[in-house]
């Protein structure tokens, strides 16, 4: 079985066949007969008391069946949120951001719902708003939330949210800090006092939108005391928990299904529009579908913007003595996953370097803006922009090559980055040399050109709770079930490869079923690049469990004991030699041409996955840019990435993830930024929020894969998918800085911003 036949191959992804023919089903395609359609009526103020909601005209509009407001939710738990349940399904008493759902119009058809929504008349009494994190942190700032919320029950989140006062139900002195995280070791002040060189700076990371092309949408139906939801959720089991709490239902009576997802990138993590569709069905008793448009999606979840102060101390040889960071995230009106985003930003900002003295303070701050949450790499891009750019400035000051400075400080294999956590499971120096050599090979000569590199290591994988089931069929085919969501990353194919490898069956004989809490096994999340590693382990264990059961059954049928039946491709090899297929064992044991055997695989914090994080996700990138000093336009001449994935189950799929992540990173570095002007966004659409296009493709793209079998996952695999995004912004900013001779401090590096830098003009905010 050591002769691998399926894993490590760039096999055709079967989901792609469904997708190119237009037959693949996404949530947006699911419309059962009798479905009502919903439209959300949204706040037109950033912060205001709701004085009155007049629904009679809307109710009289043709086709309108119901208008749901917070008042109609009596008897329900009217909020959601996996860390703190602060998020109103429909605004209660006040609105906290422009675009917040206030009412839901449910009607016979999309057009009738749209027409009805325009007739809902809401009277507001405006309140002073805090539109930036700075405003929100000011003394006597208006409060976005007056009350404290009790933490959710999930173990790894509970510690993140609870305060003693919350537990007692008492009042605390409130401010707009949603969550604060600190990390400190060594004697930072002494290290700075004795340093040869101190380099400091302050940067702003923009407010971004993931722009998954399928907008948030869901369909919900209450019937027979059960809530059935189909949605675009990355984490159906997390959504199930929120919905069960809202309606007071047992978990088993909430079924959340997720078909193909049209892009996620973290933005579809956790609960979004499912409660809205569900209360629509709860009120009307019919299936209710809610599909947001892009503007509504932007006002549903965007990524945290960040202001980061950074200071680093070096000795005369360029060795880091100390680093200090102060990170403030603009997290918007509701917490969603931002407490975890700030925790990760704190862990990831200082990079995979030997930092003997460290002090990091991170605050996630409520503002009266669109709620922020996860977006690919969450926390890492924000922190890394400050930390890596600071190293480039230090290299400049110390007269060192930036690659050399990093090589002097990167941790070695096995060395801790975070105290008490898993040592680094990667050869970072080798990875960086791969990037550097590729850049050098094709480097241009001339003063318009600049090169930048970026390194990062993310404590990835999230909390290891994964399960999987494999069901061996009488004809030797296999049904593999997982609660992990296929959102384009290729898990459906990669998990099938692992099962085919373990069972010794043809890839075509493995059918994968995913993300149905009603019929499939539990998976905590699909995020933090965990699936190949953690679900992959669960699949391996499920296959081993199925094999053990088959061996027991073979012994019972053919004689001898289970240990006499050794694993063989597609079956077991008995004491007499010939291989007996799984199907034959199953049929003989059941005594019929029928039956199946189910193997279960469980993964928890135990054994290989005891130490956190389960693995480190490495980001190792380099770019070369060409800057037109007349216009400020930046062209990317070279894009170089190393995916340090331990073992690539499907190398083409890994390259695809890495180039995709890198391209999104280039978007944040060069083009993308949501801009607030007063209470609302200037550019909540894909015309004015510009994402990378085909014409922006770098002239040279070199996506390399490092496979050193150093992960805890199957065959030494580690996760992929976020790495190349995380340090992309500082690599681009450094390259531009070198090309023009001035360091950028804000992104994106639009032509105007670069042109102003070139001409030493004050920045535009």
């Amino acid at each position: 079985m050591t002769d691998r036949h399926v894993v490590g191959q760039a096999v055709r992804r079967r989901d792609l066949l469904e997708k190119v023919t237009g037959k693949a089903v996404y949530t947006v395609d699911v419309v059962p007969s009798g479905t009502l359609h919903a439209k959300v009526v949204r706040s037109t103020h950033a912060h205001a008391h709701i004085v009155n909601i007049e629904t009679s005209a809307a109710l009289a509009s043709p086709g309108v069946v119901a208008v749901v407001t917070a008042k109609d939710l009596h008897g329900l738990f009217p909020r959601f949120g996996h860390i703190v349940p602060d998020h109103c399904i429909l605004a209660i008493d006040k609105v906290r951001y422009y675009g917040e759902p206030v009412a839901l119009v449910v009607a016979e058809g999309v057009a009738a719902a749209d027409d009805g929504a325009q007739l809902v008349d809401i009277e507001y009494d405006e309140l002073p708003a805090v539109m930036t994190a700075e405003d929100a942190l000011a003394e006597n700032a208006p409060l976005v939330h007056e009350e404290a919320y009790r933490a959710s029950s999930d173990e790894s989140f509970a510690a993140m949210a609870a305060t003693p006062d919350d537990e007692r139900g008492g009042t605390v002195e409130r401010d707009n800090v949603a969550h604060e995280v600190t990390l400190e070791w060594g004697d930072v002040d002494a290290a700075f006092a004795g340093a040869h060189t101190v380099v400091e700076g302050e940067v702003h990371y923009p407010m971004l939108y993931a722009y998954a092309m399928e907008p948030y949408n869901a369909i919900a139906h209450f019937h027979d005391g059960t809530l059935h939801v189909v949605s675009t959720a990355q984490h159906p089991y997390m959504v199930r928990t929120d919905l069960a709490r809202i309606f007071g239902l047992p978990l088993a009576r909430v079924r959340v299904e997720v078909p193909y997802v049209g892009g996620g990138y973290g933005s579809k993590s956790y609960t979004k529009v499912e409660p809205l569709a569900a209360v629509g069905s709860w009120v009307t008793g019919r299936p209710v579908k809610l599909v947001l448009d892009v503007e509504e999606s932007i006002y549903t979840t965007r990524a945290d913007a960040a202001d980061v102060k950074v200071r680093s101390a070096f000795d005369e040889n360029g060795r880091i003595l100390a680093r200090e960071f102060d990170i403030v995230l603009d997290s918007g009106a509701y917490a969603d996953n931002s407490p975890l985003v700030i925790a990760k930003a704190v862990n990831r900002c200082f990079g995979p370097y030997r930092v003997p003295n460290l002090r990091v303070r991170g605050r996630s701050v409520y503002t009266n803006t669109s709620p922020a949450s996860s977006y690919r790499g969450f926390g890492a891009p924000q922190g890394s922009f400050a930390g890596e750019l600071n190293l480039d400035q230090a290299a400049d000051r110390l007269g060192l090559d930036p690659v050399e400075l990093r090589l002097r400080n990167l941790v070695d294999v096995g060395e801790e980055v975070l105290r008490g956590k898993r040592g680094i499971d990667a050869d970072l120096k080798a990875d960086l040399r791969m990037v550097s050599e590729s850049l050098r090979r094709d480097a241009h000569v001339g003063e318009s050109y600049g090169v930048g590199v970026g390194c990062s290591a993310s404590d990835a994988g999230a909390f290891p709770v994964s399960t999987a089931a494999v069901r061996l069929q009488t004809d030797g085919s296999v049904v593999l079930s997982s609660g992990s969501t296929e959102m384009g990353q290729g898990s459906r194919s990669a998990l099938a490869q692992i099962a085919a490898e373990e069972l010794g069956v043809e890839l075509a004989d493995v059918y994968v079923s995913q993300s149905d809490t009603g019929s499939g096994p539990y998976e905590r999340t699909t995020g933090a690049s965990r699936t190949t590693t953690l679900v992959g382990l669960a699949v391996q264990r499920a296959c081993a469990d199925a094999r053990a059961k088959i061996a027991e059954m073979a012994a019972e049928v053919f004689g001898g004991s289970a240990v006499d039946y050794e694993p063989a491709p597609g079956g077991v090899r008995g004491p007499d030699g010939p291989v007996v297929g799984f199907g034959e064992v199953i049929m003989r044991w059941f005594g019929a041409n029928a039956g199946e055997v189910t193997g279960i695989g469980l993964v928890r914090r135990d054994g290989a996955t005891q130490k956190m994080p389960p693995f480190w996700e490495i980001g190792m990138v380099g770019v070369e840019v060409c800057v037109d000093r007349e216009t400020g336009a930046v062209d990317v001449e070279q894009l170089v990435t190393v995916a340090d994935v331990g073992f690539a189950i499907n190398p083409r799929a890994v390259e695809g993830q890495d180039l995709g992540a890198a391209t999104q990173g280039l978007g944040g570095a060069l083009f993308e930024e949501l801009v607030y002007d007063g209470p609302q966004l200037l550019n909540p659409n894909i015309v004015e929020y510009r994402v990378p296009r085909m014409g922006d493709l770098p002239a040279k793209i070199d996506t390399m894969i490092a496979e050193r079998r150093d992960g805890v996952g199957p065959y030494g695999a580690k996760g992929a998918g976020e790495g190349a995004l995380n340090p992309m912004a500082p690599a681009v900013a450094s390259a531009v800085g070198r090309a023009i001779g001035r360091w950028p401090t804000r992104l994106p590096l639009t032509p105007e911003r670069v042109w102003r830098l070139v001409n030493d003009l004050p920045p535009v905010s």
Binding site: A10, R12, R13, D15, L16, L17, E18, K19, V20, T21, G22, K23, A24, V25, Y26, V28, D29, V31, P62, V110, A111, D115, A210, Y211, A212, M213, E214, P215, Y260, V261, G262, G263, G264, Y265, D293, V294, M487, G488, Q489, G490, R652, A653, E655, G656, Q657, L659, G660, A662, T663, Q664, N685, I686, V687, V691, P692, R693, M694, G695, L697, I701
Partner: protein, 167 residues
């Protein structure tokens, strides 16, 4: 408002080779008509502003954004959608090449890319890489980073030229 919103008009058109005749609401878009009335859900809608290309279909051979093209305007015309590419039961070379080159991940933008690429190859069977990039610049993909899509279109063009020359 109600008089206008209820207005309907008769439409006769050929969709993926099949002649259809329907009464459609004047306010609905071609994308809504294809998806909701004809059940052709392969065509996806994203930006709704003609800038992402996800909803691209061909009308009389020319690519249009179905999200902003009125359904009533297809009267007397021929419409091709992604479902029409493999109508004969076998996949179009573009579909084969997209799968082989990993030119999609989530797949939501893919029908639009396929239709746009079909229009390109009908006009220019032997495009250069730059010509592919220029023609497809109006289609957004958020997953792949585009390079595999360029490779797939060039690959499909080569396959189609080989087929045409009988090799």
């Amino acid at each position: 408002m109600t008089a206008q919103t209820d207005a309907r008009v008769g439409v006769t058109a050929t969709v993926n080779g099949v002649e259809i005749s329907r009464s459609v609401a004047t306010r609905i878009t071609l994308a809504q008509f294809l998806r909701d009335d004809l059940g052709l859900t392969g065509t996806k809608v994203s930006c709704e502003l003609q800038v992402c290309g996800a909803c691209s279909v061909l009308v009389d051979g020319a690519p249009v954004s179905a999200c902003t093209y009125l359904a009533s305007d297809i009267d007397g015309r021929t419409v091709e959608t992604v479902e029409g590419l493999s109508a004969g039961g076998s996949m179009h070379p573009l579909q084969e090449a997209f799968v082989d080159n990993f030119a999609l991940q989530c797949g939501f933008c893919t029908p639009g890319f396929l239709m746009m690429a079909k229009a390109l190859l009908e006009r220019n069977p032997n495009p250069t890489e730059d010509e592919v990039r220029e023609y497809l610049d109006g289609n957004i993909c958020r997953c792949t980073g585009y390079r595999p899509i360029v490779e797939a279109v060039l690959d499909a063009a080569a396959r189609m030229r080989r087929e045409a020359s009988g090799d």
